[in-house]
């Protein structure tokens, strides 16, 4: 096992990692907007608006992301008559795909805001949109943060699929190197470790946010059975001996 070729080609691969982060950030920002629109559409009193949104949210989650990427890159240009670059296609696909997940996150976030706040705001003269933007969204957003970070991690991993349309993100960059130097074991192990470090750090961030948000609430209930066995196991072992 010789990792020196990996280290030699590190700069090229790190450039790809930059694009990975960019894709994930664009994907998350775009899908926050898209998810909000979809969530609001689903709450609409008009069936004509509610149904397409509901169908979109449910259907897109049944399709693999790789298929969505193929659709946007190869088939969207047929519909619009205009070419779509690989990077744009990847961004559009990530936004379109993740919006369906974010719609659920936003819906849960909006519903987590106590109705009393909205009623108080409206009764003190704020318009519907003022209430939405100044009161509801900030609180909803705070509550959505753990879910947003968790979806960001999934998006970050999903960017690796842009490989199939040639976007030079981290995974494709590593592949290009492997195609030249043929060291698959070292390279793919290295790639796995890098993704692990990035995603795991983000998940630690998400847990930290959750803890900060829960500060002041009573502590989470522990696993009951697990706790009991943990306490009992040594005593049982002692008795058995």
């Amino acid at each position: 096992m010789d990792f020196s070729p990996v280290i030699r080609n590190l700069p090229y691969m790190l450039q790809g990692l930059q694009l990975t982060f960019l894709l994930a950030l664009v994907g998350m920002s775009g899908s926050l907007v898209g998810g909000t629109v979809l969530a609001l559409l689903r709450l609409s009193p008009y069936r004509l608006l509610r149904w397409p949104a509901a169908v979109y949210v449910d259907a897109v989650r049944m399709i693999p992301l790789i298929m969505v990427i193929f659709w946007i890159f190869f088939l969207l240009p047929i519909l619009t008559g205009r070419p779509v670059s690989a990077t744009s296609a990847a961004m559009i696909a990530l936004v379109a795909f993740n919006s369906s997940y974010m719609a659920e996150v936003v819906r849960a976030g909006l519903m987590s805001v106590p109705k009393g706040l909205g009623e108080a705001a409206r009764s003190s003269g704020l318009s519907f949109f003022q209430n939405l933007l100044l009161i509801t969204f900030p609180i909803a957003f705070r509550n959505m943060l753990p879910a947003i970070v968790s979806r960001f991690i999934a998006l970050f991993m999903g960017t690796s699929l842009a490989y199939v349309i040639g976007v030079t993100e981290f995974f494709r960059a590593a592949n290009n190197i492997n195609n030249r130097i043929f060291r698959p074991f070292e390279i793919y192990l290295f790639v796995a470790v890098v993704y692990f470090v990035c995603c795991w750090s983000l998940s630690l961030l998400s847990r930290w946010i959750e803890r900060r948000l829960a500060a002041g609430e009573r502590p989470a209930k522990q696993d009951q059975t697990a706790l009991s066995l943990r306490i009992e196991a040594p005593a049982i072992a002692a008795r058995a001996r």
């Binding site: 009193p45 008559g81 318009s127 519907f128 040639g166 043929f182």
Partner: protein, 269 residues
């Protein structure tokens, strides 16, 4: 939510949909649009020496790249390279991502139905890439064995027809197919001769043998029904032959003079 405010929200959402309904740009010859843009976007391979590959400096170079560069020079525009694979080069062309395909593309009748080819710019044979000492010389030796090829090349049907008892493995990138032979997953990798010779040279354990098919012509592919563009490319190829650049490039990337039987005719009496 009041009906009025909701209607406002919906009209905002409708705007992106209007963009989608905008009419596609009027059809003009690629020659004019390339000259207008000032850039020729060429789809090339980046994992297939000597046609297109990445050198130690990280630059995409190769025989096809130099041909594209010559064409761009003749048109007086800059050259932009986009990496393609055998599987995605045609969609990239027909969607408009690239203006031409210079990616070791064999001229076949099926492909001619969806793209238009230039005159052939090279004729090349094919080989099996196998492990040295495997004893494989042809289709007969591949009964019960596994043959690798890349998606988008016509080898799947050819191998199935010539040796029905062979199993196949399909890869996206050429080097992955080479790796499969090195790892013993496939007993042979079938593809064009010149690149297989390069792969064999790079790896002492491999050799390129046999004759999976007769030599085939390769061409530059463009979108169909664009005679102006195809003519421009053909004239550039002819010029490249006439002024000696072709022979020089062939020597540089294939290591030998062009086959005497191959000529790009200049269509002049």
């Amino acid at each position: 939510m009041t009906r009025r405010s909701f209607a406002r929200l919906i009209s905002l959402a409708a705007i992106p949909l209007l963009l989608l309904a905008a009419p596609a740009p009027a059809q003009q010859s690629t020659l004019d649009s390339v000259k207008q843009k000032g850039v020729l976007v060429a789809g090339v391979k980046n994992d297939y020496p000597p046609f297109g590959y990445i050198d130690e400096k990280g630059q995409t170079v190769g025989f096809d790249i130099e041909i594209a560069r010559y064409i761009a020079g003749k048109l007086g525009v800059k050259l932009e390279l986009k990496p393609v694979t055998s599987a995605n080069r045609i969609p990239m062309l027909t969607n408009g991502n690239i203006d031409l395909i210079a990616a070791s593309m064999t001229i076949t009748r099926e492909r001619e139905e969806v793209v238009d080819f230039s005159v052939p710019y090279i004729v090349i044979g094919s080989k099996f890439l196998v492990k040295k000492g495997s004893g494989i010389k042809g289709y007969a030796d591949l009964a019960g064995k596994t043959v690798a090829f890349t998606q988008g090349t016509p080898w799947g049907d050819k191998v199935a027809a010539a040796q029905p008892q062979a199993k196949t493995l399909v890869f996206q990138d050429k080097p992955q197919a080479v790796l499969s032979v090195m790892q013993g997953k496939a007993h042979a990798y079938v593809d064009d001769a010149a690149p297989l010779f390069v792969f064999a040279k790079q790896n002492e354990a491999l050799e390129a043998v046999g004759e999976p098919s007769k030599a085939q012509p390769m061409g530059i592919a463009v979108r169909p029904n664009d005679s102006k563009w195809r003519d421009a490319i053909n004239f550039a190829l002819i010029d490249m032959w006439d002024d000696g650049t072709y022979a020089k490039l062939h020597k540089q990337f294939f290591g030998v003079e062009p086959d005497p039987a191959f000529i790009i005719y200049n269509w002049k009496l």
